[in-house]
Amino acid sequence: MVDIDGEIIEHMANPKNYGSLDNPDAIGIGENPDNGEKVIIYLDVVESDGESPFIEDIKFQAIGCMTTVVAGSIITGEAKGIDFDTADELIAVTLGMLENVPPESAACSEMVAVALKAAMDTYYEKKNNPDIPALVYKIEQSCMPKEEDKDI
């Protein structure tokens, strides 16, 4: 189980960036195929010629557990006010850390990271097709402990 301290409680009681945006430039969804849990990311994006798109505002909603809400609060807090190139690095770092995290927490963090990636990819896809629906990326981690880990 996650070690709960004052900072985690603050994320649970008052998650940062929770909710939706009225007219987002892009929406992305991360989904856990095992149990149908989802994270939906909404982006407001500003883009200048020749520069990487910039995340001006970001919101998320979670259909999932409290660990997902905490991960969403932390990751969207980091993603707000950075450009897509930096956001790609944030996603890579987040996914890279998952091996050292308990499975239930890893699945939650991965769901937020892939939802952010899906929202950024939706933004790019909308340039060619403005009517494209939100992209949905499924996670690879499982909430469930692996059989061989069960007795540990």
């Binding site: 189980m1 070690d3 409680i9 009681a13 989802k38 909603q61 979670a62 409290m66 809400v69």
Partner: protein, 280 residues
């Protein structure tokens, strides 16, 4: 009218949270009663929207509640009620509008006359429940459980309320109403514990797909699984705290056995849907 629904939703939750914070018994009682009245307003406004064929949802803003003194949130609630009173002008149903105005006129003034008290302990994060000594692991389990389940109970109230609002089937509506009443009891129990432990928070906003369900039968099947999982969590929590607090263990066993009845009711509702062959 949609704004009226949203503002009433927010005022209901703000008043319920204030009731959790209050320590004075009479103040707590009045705030609980007012929050119940606001919830009833919410369902009546919703019904009016349905009658008029207006599309609506349960979206709302986040509700800041972290205050040091009750007076601060009471003034906020009174101001919210004032806004609702102004918005109620848009209500075409004369009887409903008069009822809303009359209730709000009384309540917005009554809350301002409630005694002030220090409520900072509701947000102190001391994570101690009454005089019960729990170890770190049991305290963490209890903390996580209360955040998860207080949201879950709010979610269930809203889902069953939405299903009930869109159903004219008396058999099902009886079951939905029981589930709403039961979830209210659980939400009050967990919310009060959160306040006592200094970790009070408003349940997060629901995503539309949770209550605007495409298949009620699928929702019920998943709901039965979730209730079974909730039973398991209650059992685990009861076991985790049993050594340190038989009183808390008994409480979670009590909640656990209530979930068993919910499962049976949901099975009845599922059977009824299947027999009707409809997804109303």
């Amino acid at each position: 009218m949609k704004e009226l629904l949203k503002n009433t939703h927010e005022a209901w939750l703000a008043t319920l949270m204030a009731a959790f914070m209050a320590k004075n018994g009479e103040t707590k009682h009045i705030l609980y009663e007012f929050s119940d009245i606001l919830f009833r307003h919410f369902t009546w406004i919703e019904n009016d929207l349905i009658k008029r064929g207006v599309e609506y949802d349960y979206d709302r803003d986040n509700i800041p509640i972290k205050v040091t003194h009750l007076k601060i949130i009471l003034e906020n609630i009174s101001s919210r009620m004032n806004d609702i009173e102004l918005l109620s002008i848009n209500c075409d149903d004369d009887a409903l509008r008069h009822r809303l105005e009359s209730d709000l006129k009384y309540m917005k003034e009554r809350v301002l006359r409630l005694d002030d008290e220090d409520v900072s302990s509701a947000f102190s994060v001391n994570r101690k429940y009454k005089d019960i000594e729990l170890g770190k692991e049991a305290t963490d389990s209890l903390t996580l459980f209360l955040f998860e389940e207080s949201y879950k109970e709010y979610e269930l109230i809203m889902i069953y309320n939405y299903l009930k609002a869109h159903s004219s089937d008396a058999f099902l509506n009886r079951i939905f109403q029981i589930m709403i009443d039961e979830s209210f009891f659980h939400l009050r129990s967990f919310g009060q514990m959160m306040s006592d432990m200094g970790i009070l928070g408003v349940p997060r906003v629901l995503h539309k797909s949770l209550y605007k369900v495409e298949s009620v039968t699928e929702f019920l099947v998943n709901g039965i699984e979730e209730e079974e999982s909730a039973k398991e969590q209650c059992k685990e929590l009861s076991d985790a705290v049993a050594k340190e607090s038989p009183e808390l263990a008994e409480f979670f066993d009590f909640i656990n056995y209530q979930e068993s009845y919910h499962i049976e009711l949901m099975k009845e509702a599922l059977q009824h849907y299947k027999m009707k062959g409809t997804n109303e």
